[in-house]
């Protein structure tokens, strides 16, 4: 085998953001290899993520094709996934696909602050680069995204939610 089990698992595309691999998205937590047996640990982005089963099936399929006979896929819930875990390469691929990468999370102590104004992070349009953008919806087609519009090029685009 040329590729290690980690290389194979890391190259599996995410079912909902297929321009990213599971490694780019930061949900691949561990790949433990012992002979032809592999245990892969992944973590959900959101509690209700409907793609976990698909990811598991994809990992099983690709690792078996790569020659691993015994493949186990496990879930890890802690620590909870953060959008900060999307890799620099993942951010570049998102932007190239017209999806704005997430802003960094802010670290806090004490009560979770309430946000009464629409979020206004510095979001640049992934198509034209303009900073003149606004949130049109706090949610979008998948759990991890919100919807924006650029006032310069007038195109709508999605932003990965900061979490």
């Amino acid at each position: 085998m040329v590729n290690t089990a980690y290389d194979v698992a890391a190259s599996v595309p995410d079912p909902e953001l297929p321009m990213l691999t599971l490694a780019d998205l930061g949900i691949l937590r561990a790949v433990d290899e012992d002979g032809d047996a592999v245990v892969v640990t992944i973590t959900p982005t959101y509690s209700g993520c409907p793609a976990m089963r698909e990811m598991s099936a994809d990992l099983q399929q690709r690792l078996r094709t790569a020659g691993y006979a015994d493949v186990t896929v496990r879930t890890a819930l802690a620590p909870a996934w953060s959008s900060d875990w999307i890799t620099p390469e993942g951010r570049r691929k998102l932007a190239a696909a017209g999806i704005a990468p997430p802003a960094a999370t802010s670290h806090r102590r004490g009560p979770v602050p309430l946000t009464l104004q629409p979020r206004r992070p510095e979001v640049r349009c992934p198509r034209c680069g303009s900073a003149g953008t606004r949130e049109t919806a706090a949610f979008s087609g998948t759990a991890c995204k919100s919807l924006y519009r650029c006032s310069s090029c007038a195109e709508p685009f999605e932003l990965i939610k900061t979490t």
């Binding site: 595309p13 509690s47 496990r74 819930l77």
Partner: protein, 277 residues
């Protein structure tokens, strides 16, 4: 077309048709591969009861939110509502699965094959909201309360419950902000939107006291009062709905609305009890 042109093409590779997630059969266990042993010093029965109650809250409320999908005022709010309901359904699945590891029942058995008096959700989540104002009002209060509870449970002695709470807290923060912004927009909007927002809060309020039996109310009140003040709304002054023979939702005593929501939620599974999907 190369995968450079359409990244979704890469998903069509190397697949049998049998495991496409939209058409597959059977869900995986949401706690697959997680160590579900009970740590020393943790009362397993109390932990199961706690997970069941919190799972039931999310399951019933998620279903009530789902009933509003296709009825929201704008397409953007449809996606918001569906996403919020999905997050809560995910929390419900993990919590019921956690309870199930202790009581020896699957998440599906707990969701679909218990009778009304066996559900432990608060009465607050049972009613179908009459209008959009009532919906965002209930969501604001629910998310504020549950976030306070989850912040506390993130320190639970059970690492599985602690992990579910830590993850869910991030989702609830986002739900709370969404609801709060709508409550302000409606309360600070037209005379009609203000009237309906206030009326929605008045309807919900008698069931709020029951929520704070298990978590300190002060922090949640600061949040709610901030939203009400910004929105120009009055904090309702309504008597709490009394317990029945000292029992409430957590004891399996529910409101009339509960039978209707359960009938819809359970009908397919009960008509086809051996089916997988």
């Amino acid at each position: 077309m190369s995968t450079d042109d359409n990244p979704y093409e890469s998903l069509a590779d190397e697949h049998g048709e049998d495991h496409r997630w939209a058409f597959g059969t059977g869900f995986v266990d949401p706690l697959e591969g997680i160590d579900t042993s009970i740590p020393a010093g943790v009362d397993a029965d109390a932990l199961a009861a706690q997970c069941l109650a919190l799972g039931d809250d999310a399951l019933i409320y998620s279903h009530r939110l789902q009933q509003w999908v296709t009825r929201m005022p704008e397409l953007e709010e449809e996606t918001a509502l569906a996403n919020i309901a999905l997050d809560l359904l995910g929390q419900a699945r993990m919590l019921l699965a956690r309870a199930g590891t202790i009581v020896g029942r699957s998440e599906d058995e707990l969701a679909f094959f218990r009778a009304e008096h066996e559900f432990r959700n608060v009465r607050f989540v049972e009613r179908l909201d009459r209008d959009f104002a009532e919906l965002v009002g209930r969501l604001l209060i629910f998310a504020t309360w549950r976030l306070a509870l989850f912040e506390q449970l993130a320190g639970s002695a059970d690492p599985v419950l602690a992990a579910i709470a830590a993850k869910g807290g991030k989702e609830l923060t986002y739900h709370r902000d969404y609801a709060a912004q709508w409550v302000v927009r409606l309360g600070d909007g037209t005379d009609e939107s203000k009237r309906r927002m206030q009326a929605g809060l008045e309807v919900i309020w008698p069931l709020v006291d029951e929520l704070f039996a298990e978590v300190d109310r002060a922090e949640a009140d600061v949040v709610l009062d901030t939203v009400f003040a910004t929105a120009g709304l009055k904090r309702p002054d309504r008597a709490a709905l009394a317990p029945v023979d000292r029992r409430t939702g957590r004891d399996g005593v529910h409101t009339e609305a509960m039978g209707y929501v359960l009938a819809e939620l359970q009908s397919v599974a009960r008509a086809h009890p051996e089916a997988t999907w």
